[in-house]
Each structure stands twice: as C-alpha cells, then as structure tokens.
Symmetry: C2
Subunit: 211 residues, 2 copies
Amino acid sequence: MENVKIFDGIKDGELEKMLSCFDAKHKKFASGNNLPTRRYGEPRLGVILSGEADLVRYDYDGYRNILEHLSQGDVFGEIFMQIEGADELAIVCETKCDVLYMDYKNVIKRCENACEFHSTLVDNILKIMAAKVQKLRTHLEVLSQRTLRTKLLTYFNMTAKQAGSNSFTLPFSLADLADYLYVDRSAMLREMKNLREENLISSRGKHITLT
Amino acid sequence: MENVKIFDGIKDGELEKMLSCFDAKHKKFASGNNLPTRRYGEPRLGVILSGEADLVRYDYDGYRNILEHLSQGDVFGEIFMQIEGADELAIVCETKCDVLYMDYKNVIKRCENACEFHSTLVDNILKIMAAKVQKLRTHLEVLSQRTLRTKLLTYFNMTAKQAGSNSFTLPFSLADLADYLYVDRSAMLREMKNLREENLISSRGKHITLT
DNA sequence: ACAAAAAAGTTGCAAATGCAACTTACTGAA
DNA sequence: TTCAGTAAGTTGCATTTGCAACTTTTTTGT
C-alpha cells in the first residue's frame, strides 16, 4: 500500500492507526460493478488498491463517455465528481477491484487526537487534485491550437521537454494520440508525413525526433 | 468577506478567530504586480478580496498565455499551480488587488485547538478544486467535438440544460465564445448562420434559442 | 513459424475551416 | 445627437481536415 499516492509520507505504523481512526473498510467488487461513493448517505473516499475502473458519464443522448481511467493508487469519491449539472457520473469496474473506503467527513475533519498523518493525508489529496487540474490544463493547451499541425507540434514539444530530449517514444499508440488530439487518425498521419517531409521531425511508429 | 467561497459556512465570529489562528495577512498590490505565493520559502494561500488578476504561463517561446482569470473570492497558491514541468506560472494583477494571505501549512495542519471551522475551510478548498476540475472537463468535452457545428451544438445544449430552458443568453460575447471554442470567429458565425437556416437554432446576438 | 488481428501508413475527394478584408449594428461618452 | 469604438455579421478563397476505403507493417497467440 506504500506506492499509493494518497498515503505518501505516512509511515506504516501510522497508516494502521489512521485506517482505524478513519473507520476504513476494505471491499472487493467484481468487474462491471458500480463503485459506490456513499454509505448511509455519507460521502466516502475510495482508493483503488488493485484493479482497473473508469469514471464514466452518460451523455444526454445516453452515450457513454470515459472521463478518466483509474488504476492502482487512484482515488475517487463525491468530492471529485461534483456538483452542479449533476451529470450521470459513475465509477465502473473494468476488472475486479479491491477498494479501500474511508469516510470523507473523517478525513477532512479536525482530528481530536491531533494525529500527525492527518494533515499529510489532506495535503496528498490536494496534490492529487492539483495534478489532475494540471493534466487537464495541459490537454486543453494542446487542443487550443487551431490546426492539426500546431496541435502535433505543441504536443511533441511538451513531450520532448518532459523527456528532456528531442527524441522520445509516445506513451501510447498513434491511434490513441489521434484520440487525445481529437482529430482524425489518417489526417494526423498525413500531417506527420508532411512534417517529416519538411524535416521538422523524423518519426517511425511511436518514436519521434524533433529536428 | 462573506461572499467568498473559501469561507462559506464559517460564521463571522469564527472567521476572526480563524484569521488570527492562521496568521492571515492582508496585503495590497498595484496593477501589474506579481502576486507571491510563498513567504520565507513557505507556501501560502491567497484569496483575492478585491481586484482582478490572471494566472498566466509563459510559453517556451515566451508567449504569454492566460490560464485563468481571478476575481473577488478566488483562491490561488502553490498548490493550485503545481508541480512537474515547473512551467513559468505567475499570478499577475490586472488592477490593484487586495489579497488575504494564509500559511498553507497552517490551513491543512491538524489544529491543536480543534477549531470547528478548520475542516470547513479544507472542505471548501476541496470543493473549489473539484469545481475547477469540473469546469475544465466541461471545456474539454466541448473541444472534443470534431467539427465546429457539433462544438457549437454541444455548448448550446449544455448551456440550455444549465439554464433550464431552450432560450438563453450567452454569458459572454460571441468573440469570446469563439475563443472558448478555439475556432475562428467568422467561421463560427458562418456556422451559426447555417444552423439558423436549417432551423436548428434561432439567434440574434448573444440570445439563442434551440428549436 | 504461421495465421490472424491490430497498428501504422496512404490517398482521393468533398466538406469544413481559417484567414483576410470587408459592412452593418450597437453602445457609451462628450 | 453625434461620433468613436466595439461587437456582430458577411463573403471569397486557399488550405486543412474528416471520411472512407484501401495497403503495408508489426504484434500476438498457438
């Protein structure tokens, strides 16, 4: 459980103490199940200990939309789903899942025992949410480009910067890249070909070099 | 100070107590200033009491990019700016600004006095961040549409749903709408004209009706 | 090693879009 | 009331893009 971001910086001994302090419950769900985010009407925080799940929304025309993919260490709960619009959000298991549940109120509440880990946990949750915001902003920045070409170049530049090198391998397939950029795959490959011919990049499959 | 979301649900009496408990400081800045997010190396939370500011990023080619507009009641701070990539984010005053600063550590720390308002404040911050995520997701959903037409229709449908009516007035100018959709303004107006001619909408200026 | 499936790559064509250069309609201050 | 500035609306044209229908290459399971 140590590689779970929400528990970063919390020592093993403390973790146990904390879990009992928070009335944490360990539950198992089969693939296809919806993961609940409340118990007795009270909002809860869930941590995926193992398995894969999706945060999905059902569109106004019933179309299912995956907003986020969750795997080991990821956190979910009412607080992440929110609020106005009250869209049909749900967490759906894609495989069988092990989940650790905590009471949301307990987590954010002032702790009568003044446990040290308490503020660490809150800090971690804030960091997780901030990282989520960052990720969405990055995505938005790429999409803010008006042409396919500049979308690609923006994405490539960001990835190169992250990799610390002009050469890098995409973290997913080219088809997935097209989905991420929300463009037609063949149009994207055509544009990559153009970039290649103009010697702005060289690429083969998922491996790309800026030149 | 009562209409400030971060202080929602905290009573006046408590607020004063809290501000001293958090060692809150009131500062004024002139237009054009950068708002700091640390003091003596310690991260701080800022609340805009009055004035306007922007969260800006400086691109790799030095281009200035406004990520978010902040006005009365909005919160800023390291935790919202984050992390990896360590982009050149800054908060820049657009007008003179009144800012209330709090020590981040104090805010998230277990409170020795076990103050009631403490958990309320943390809850509010989490809600603010969740709302931010929601807003970004919504934006992303609109941009995920591949054509200008469907971008418009998606945005209009969402706005209508929010307004609870097929008739609504845009919360900003048409030029701003084009910016929000990241499309050319004239191309957008042309498409709106098409939609009008096909009787899918009727519109005049910022007032739109779905039909 | 082979077949089958998945991913990558290609291309023609019609339609959508950005861009530029306008005109027309509002709105607010002197 | 008029003038100036801003927002809305229009249009032609070159370019970009989505879409569909492929081929080629790579990966995977047996």
